[in-house]
């Protein structure tokens, strides 16, 4: 961890270099690469100790990316659609870790849909990023469950089924942190990741992330052109660390200030809409309106910190279960004898 004089360092003395991983093998221009960069930037900004982070994924181009960030963090590239269960186990075993997971729209919306829903139902603390390109990248261009009706692909033809909305599914599952973004909107992606990593519970970020190889036609709602042209931010989002001062810039009512458990703050400057991200009804209404009118909104769609996390629900000790010693794990002789006496 040598901080050279030329490279800036964060509060724990690390450079962005310390948050890098291996070289990406994804296609040049793939939206997933931009998100990787923002994960690195967010972790640097947060001064996260890489030793406290778990990076998780399923299978897909998107799920390959944990190899390309946080090279000093433990990680698990699991099975197709099964990141939620593996992360659930890991976070039960060691609740002191911070988990960030990357999935794809196929990984989450198709094969892993059940696990995705149950993870949110349990409120497993993790950042769950869906790098949503409306297509199966790694298997070369089949329609995914988030593809638009009428989406046309060179190889797979025209999609005739309605898309699944990842955010609507998350809201329905009572997920307490639901956001949407666009991989071309670097600042918003970064701020959302920082907020999500500071949130206690499952935080889902559905990021439209164009697949330049298989689904980047201008009329696709998952293309760069579409994102650049159509993105409507609900708010300007700014993540403020607990040690930073929250400066109120605008007149009353134009900003929403959300305080998170450990002290940091999310400042949401309202744009065109008068939108309250803490209101679940409003979120459902917004998503439905946007679905009907083909509007691509991004930002923090919903936040609610009142649900207990899985570890709290299960009354787990504060220390990692994984670090319990033999003396703590093995019953006392007296307790054992008492049980044997029952038979």
């Amino acid at each position: 961890m040598t901080a050279t004089t030329t490279r800036p360092t964060n509060r724990i003395g690390l450079t962005t270099q310390d948050y890098q991983g291996g070289t990406s093998t994804l296609c040049a221009g793939c939206g997933h690469n931009s998100i990787t960069s923002q994960i690195i930037a967010a972790c640097y900004d947060l001064s996260l100790d890489p030793a406290t982070v778990l990076k998780m994924s399923g299978i897909g181009c998107s799920s390959k990316t944990p190899a390309y960030f946080l090279g000093k963090s433990f990680g698990f590239n699991t099975l197709h659609g099964r990141m939620p269960s593996v992360t659930t186990g890991a976070m039960i075993a060691n609740r002191t870790m911070t988990a960030i997971g990357v999935s794809g729209d196929g990984d989450t919306g198709s094969i892993g849909f059940g696990q995705f829903k149950h993870m949110m139902r349990r409120n497993v603390p993790m950042v769950y990023i869906v790098e949503n390109n409306g297509v199966y990248g790694l298997t070369k261009g089949q329609h995914s469950a988030t593809a638009d009706i009428g989406q046309h692909l060179k190889y797979a033809g025209t999609n005739v089924l309605p898309p699944i909305d990842i955010c609507a599914e998350a809201i329905a599952a009572d997920c307490g942190f639901v956001a949407r973004s666009f991989s071309g909107d670097a600042k918003q992606v970064r701020e959302l990741i920082k907020a999500a990593m500071s949130y206690e519970g499952t935080a889902v970020i559905d990021i439209i992330s164009p697949c330049v190889t298989f689904n980047n036609e201008d009329d696709s709602s998952k293309s760069y052109a579409y994102g650049k042209d159509k993105e409507e931010r609900i708010q300007d989002i700014q993540f403020i660390q607990s040690y930073e001062e929250v400066v109120v810039d605008y007149e009353p009512g134009s900003e929403q200030i959300v305080k998170l458990h450990d002290g940091p703050t999310i400042k949401l400057r309202k744009l065109n809409r008068d939108y309250d991200a803490t209101d679940r009804w409003a979120a459902i209404k917004l998503l439905e309106e946007c679905r009907q009118s083909n509007i691509f909104v991004t930002g923090l769609i919903h936040i609610n910190e009142s649900r207990p996390t899985l570890q709290q629900t299960m009354s787990l000790i504060d220390e990692p279960l994984a670090y319990q010693t033999e003396a703590q794990l093995r019953p006392s002789r007296a307790a054992f004898a008492a049980v044997m006496a029952e038979f």
Binding site: F74, S85, A90, I92, A322, R333
Partner: protein
């Protein structure tokens, strides 16, 4: 019970002389009618009289209404295997009473409600009618307890007729109801009413008697799933993830029941997690995550769940993550016979996953092993950084067996080669500053593992199911792949020498060998006694684990004819034995049954005798 059984002609029973501590009683009831309390009371009372006894529940896959049979075998020799027929019938299920009666051997006993009509009554059995309705009218129990109290009437009659201690019946009820006097008294009222009726109106006409012995002192009665649940807690379990499936559910129930006693909460917080997943796939995923992160993680399931865990089995094998999977085997394929025993998952468990993978499997054969292997499985999983499957079955798991009480383990937990922050630095210092997750430093195929939370910046690695080199880094190089596979084979060979060795009983002069495993052990013991009486001395080998080792080859070399006893259609263990010792494969003959019932000694002796006759011809 022809409906359930291989047909075996039963010997004619003489009313004289008395038959002491050597008979089987079958209780026929409807599923869900609450006969379990009555049956457990009888078993416990007989057991506490010092008489070896075992109980087997032959129940349908149904909540209520379908027929259930519970067999209680009393055996002064201590035989616990099922028998083909029962001498005594408690015919409390009108829907099966005719068939049940037909299955009694001549000279048998039929205890039945007084108003029960048999279509074809037999003249060669003894009847003891019980005016159950009159009893119930007099006691007038609350409606919801009616069935339970009704069943206590046969407890009273059986107690009086066969000489079971009334005091022990009361103690057994006290045990069952945790000392709740009111419940005990209500049940006892029926027992006593039935006893009084028997004394006054049912003179003894049969030869069967229970007489006190001293063969159960210090022993306990327990089922294998409870033993395993307690064993898991003693073995330091951290995370249990599961999805309900018969016959494994009671294993997790036992963990849930005994955890507060064995691993009490501190300030209302616990150091274990029991999580009911949305399916077995998620259950497997959860334990893979938990095992990777450093806890002792397990699941319990049965055949259909094993199928769903297939992909994770392969991942855990290849990413080298310790997990423990209990498979309480039931009859497949598919939903099959969900409440019937089988040993049908040997091959699917051993080869769980795709591509090449062989797993350590433990094969408990009695209650002590069900208990101890819960801990052993964790030790082996962490030592070898791999899935360990424990293949129990419905008979072991859900039926009551007599056993020595379990002993508190004297060995410390074996957490395997785990480097924490401190030992990691030391490791680097000792190894030229080199570490790779999958490097075979000790030439035993096992690398050194780090777990999340390790503070050394070089300790982290990315677990993956994709091809990787010794550093755990993605690689598609053919030599990396081959080297890794060779190391995994080396690891399996190391495991071969560490897993529980077979139990061999070599008899001088024997030319016949019998190989078995799991719940068939008692039937094999009894069959060997009978064969010996017939003049055929046998040696036996009870397998306790996979992969098979050198002892197995030696045993196979040592006998001219070897019978492989197992409860599946395809002779699955026999297939593994052939592959393990091809030189002696021709000596193997299957003694296999796949009908859903626990094996009997008679089946084994008949099959062996038939085979011997056919070979001689």
């Amino acid at each position: 019970m022809t409906s359930l059984d291989t047909v075996v002609s039963a010997p004619v029973i003489d009313p004289n002389p008395p038959v002491i501590n050597d008979f089987t009683l079958v209780v026929a009831t409807e599923n869900g009618s609450g006969s379990q309390t009555a049956n457990n009371t009888l078993i416990r009372a007989i057991f506490k009289m010092g008489v070896p006894v075992s109980g087997k529940n032959l129940f349908p896959s149904n909540i209520s209404g379908l027929p259930t049979w519970y067999t209680i075998r009393v055996s002064h020799q201590g035989y616990a295997a099922r028998r083909e027929y029962s001498e005594i019938l408690v015919a409390y299920n009108p829907r099966t009473s005719d068939e049940d009666l037909a299955n009694l051997p001549a000279g048998g006993v039929c205890i039945h409600p007084a108003d029960m009509k048999f279509t074809t009554p037999r003249s060669d059995v003894v009847y003891y009618p019980v005016p159950v309705k009159d009893f119930i009218k007099e006691i007038a129990p609350p409606q919801h307890l009616r069935d339970y109290i009704t069943n206590m009437s046969y407890v009273g009659v059986v107690t009086q007729l066969f000489g079971i201690s009334r005091v022990e019946i009361e103690h057994a009820l006290m045990h069952h109801f945790n000392g709740k006097r009111k419940a005990v008294d209500l049940n006892l009222r029926m027992v006593d009413m039935a006893i009084a009726h028997t004394v006054a109106h049912l003179p003894k006409q049969d030869p069967f008697r229970v007489e006190p012995l001293n063969k159960t002192a210090g022993k306990i009665l327990i089922d294998g799933n409870t033993a395993a649940g307690i064993g898991a807690l003693v073995g330091g379990v951290g995370v249990v993830a599961w999805y309900p499936i018969t016959p494994s559910t009671s294993l997790v129930d036992a963990i849930t029941e005994y955890a507060p006693k064995l691993r009490p909460a501190v300030d209302d917080r616990v150091n274990y997690a029991i999580i009911q997943a949305e399916d077995e796939l998620a259950a497997a995923g959860i334990i893979v995550g938990a095992g990777w992160a450093g806890t002792r993680a397990m699941t319990a399931t049965s055949g259909p769940g094993i199928s769903l865990m297939n992909e994770f089995g392969g991942l855990a094998h290849f990413a080298e993550v310790p997990i423990v999977i209990w498979d309480i085997m039931r009859m497949g394929p598919s939903t099959g016979l969900p409440t019937r025993v089988s040993q049908g998952d040997i091959l699917s468990a051993y080869y769980l996953g795709h591509g090449d993978s062989q797993h350590i499997c433990l094969l408990p054969g009695d209650m002590t092993e069900c208990f101890a292997y819960a801990g052993t499985a964790f030790d082996l999983a962490e030592r070898f950084q791999t899935p360990v499957l424990v293949l129990s079955d419905l008979d072991l798991g859900m039926n009551n067996w007599m056993t020595e009480p379990f002993e508190y383990p004297e060995q410390p937990l074996d957490r395997g080669k785990v480097l924490d922050t401190g030992s990691f630095a030391q490791f680097l210092a000792d190894h030229d500053n080199k570490w790779g997750r999958y490097r075979d430093v000790d030439n035993d195929g096992i690398g050194y593992r780090t777990i999340p939370g390790n503070q050394n910046p070089r300790a982290a690695w990315l677990a993956r199911g994709t091809g990787h080199n010794e550093q755990g880094v993605y690689s598609e190089r053919n030599d990396d792949w081959q080297r890794n596979m060779d190391r995994l084979t080396r690891k399996l060979d190391t495991a071969r020498r560490h897993v529980p060795a077979p139990v061999i009983d070599a008899r001088p002069g024997a030319t016949v060998g019998i190989i078995g495993y799991g719940s068939t052990a008692d039937a094999i013991t009894e069959a060997r006694d009978r064969l010996r009486a017939q003049g055929i001395e046998t040696s036996s080998m009870r397998l306790r684990s996979l992969p098979l080792n050198e002892d197995v080859r030696t045993f196979m070399e040592s006998y001219d004819q070897i019978y492989v006893v197992e409860l599946n259609q395809d002779s699955q263990m026999l297939q593994l034995l052939c592959a393990h010792a091809p030189k002696d494969a021709a000596k193997l003959a299957p003694v296999n049954l796949c009908d859903g019932l626990p094996l009997t000694a008679t089946f084994i002796t008949q099959r062996i005798n038939a085979h011997r006759t056919s070979v001689k011809q």
